[in-house]
């Protein structure tokens, strides 16, 4: 299918090398081939990748670059071919392929040692987990523009709190967390995860958070951003139903928060609910203390405050429980867990009496 749509790129030869655009869907043999090649280059195949630019010499894979959503990863060139600017051509092709798919804002993961190489390919360094992994983007102004727009919403005060929530959907638990946080600081910034890969659409989640927090004084609700728990900064968050936790991703996401987002707004505290159920969220909370507090950094510490989750008849309120209620047509129980606005929206837009509804993430 890809071959049809992107025919201008498909297999052509330059020198002894065959360049092609391939995807796992088209060629079942591709995945094991790429996995093996990446292993020989000390890399692991990432589960989110679907499309590849491949380079073969005498039918043997000698270089590749992977793309999933707007993220480029698993760029590898066989040691025998290094020094021939293969990487430039790989990134050039993958950038044009992405453009054909309507993706222009691109992110790239690589080892910190290779940041310089990709800096010659139109990418600019964002953050780095020292010695392990670096995240780059293809714009010199992306993150700084975002931080400038945040800085315009800076508020005075000693204690500036923050909460990041997916709110899929918004519950009394989210409301309670924000209230407790707001009580403990001079101003509270609430961020709604911007990625549209949860059961409830981003627009609906954002609207319900605004509605649910509208009476909260000294609080700003911010739209989500690609720089905070997005598929670019934290891809495994959106796979958490599968229980995949990736140490590197939580780290990069939190380093961006500490080094860029928090200073822009003068954020001193980040509030989270205790997590009794979801291992990915629990791990994220633990990592938060490491990367926002303990890890040495040029950026000031952001104190992490874990607040006991609000409980309903002995059990902590969770958005996943609400989604279970939705699937089971149990609106009576749901009424104990979420504000009326959430019920109304779920009933009107997401409740399908005849069908099973996909779970999505919390």
């Amino acid at each position: 299918m890809i071959q049809d749509t992107y025919s201008e790129y498909s297999s052509f030869t330059s020198g002894d090398l065959d360049w092609a655009i391939e995807s796992f869907g088209d060629n079942p043999k591709l995945q094991p081939e790429i996995t093996e090649f990446l292993q020989s280059c000390d890399l692991e195949l990432d589960g989110n990748l679907a499309d590849f630019v491949t380079v073969r010499s005498a039918k043997k894979l000698v270089a590749c670059a992977g793309m999933g959503e707007n993220v480029i990863k698993c760029v590898a060139v066989s040691p025998t071919l290094r020094g021939q600017n293969i990487t430039l051509r790989l990134i050039s092709d993958v950038t044009n392929l992405a453009a054909d798919m309507g993706r222009y804002q691109l992110f790239l993961y690589t080892k910190p040692d290779n940041v310089e190489t990709f800096s010659r390919c139109g990418f600019y360094p964002l953050v780095e987990m020292s010695g392990v992994i670096a995240l780059m983007e293809n714009s010199p102004v992306g993150l700084s523009r975002y931080c400038q727009s945040l800085a315009q919403q800076r508020q005075p005060g000693q204690t500036i709190g923050s909460v990041v929530m997916n709110a899929n959907p918004f519950t009394f638990g989210h409301q309670y967390l924000a209230q407790q946080a707001a009580d403990n600081c001079d101003w509270l910034h609430v961020f709604v995860v911007g990625e549209n890969s949860s059961l409830i659409t981003y627009e609906d989640r954002y609207a319900l958070v605004c509605e649910g927090l509208k009476d909260l004084p000294r609080t700003t609700v911010h739209p989500g951003s690609i720089y905070m728990i997005s598929k670019a900064t934290f891809p495994s968050y959106f796979l958490k139903d599968r229980g995949i936790v990736d140490q590197c991703h939580t780290a990069l996401d939190l380093i961006i928060f500490r080094e860029h987002v928090a200073p822009a707004l003068g954020i001193t505290h980040r509030f989270v609910g205790t997590e009794p159920f979801c291992p990915v969220t629990r791990k994220y909370n633990e990592d938060m203390k490491r990367w926002l507090i303990h890890e040495p950094s040029m950026a000031p510490v952001v104190t992490v405050v874990e607040l006991e989750r609000k409980a309903q008849s002995g059990t902590a309120i969770s958005a996943s429980e609400v989604r279970r209620c939705l699937r089971a047509d149990n609106f009576d129980h749901m009424a104990e867990l979420v504000p009326q606005a959430t019920i109304d929206l779920l009933r009107a837009k997401y409740f399908d009496p005849g069908a099973r509804v996909a779970t999505g993430t919390g």
Partner: protein, 97 residues
């Protein structure tokens, strides 16, 4: 010509350049250039880009250039292509270019 969406043109191969154009901040034209030959030809590259954008009447947007030692004519062509794509391919009088 108004930049209404993101677009790219070009490649990163030697003697070419990759041009990325995107809507930027209001009333601002931001041009970022990285070049292998910035020390020898930085000023010249910049003036070719400014001139091309001027002919296309581009006054707002983010223009990001990754240059691999392209000749003036290549720079002009890639910038024109990227801008036209980003402006939604409006009709154009090539005689004036």
């Amino acid at each position: 010509m108004k930049i209404i969406k993101e677009a790219v043109a070009g490649t990163l191969e030697s003697s070419d350049l990759l041009v990325k154009v995107a809507p930027g901040l209001p009333n601002r034209l931001d041009i970022h250039i990285r070049s292998e030959v910035i020390r020898q030809f930085g000023a010249r590259i910049r003036s070719v880009i400014d001139e091309t954008l001027g002919q296309l009447d581009v006054t707002e947007g983010d223009i990001t250039i990754e240059d691999k030692g392209a000749l003036d004519c290549a720079i002009r062509a890639r910038v024109q292509t990227a801008v036209l794509r980003a402006a939604g391919n409006p009709p154009i009088d090539w005689e004036t270019m």
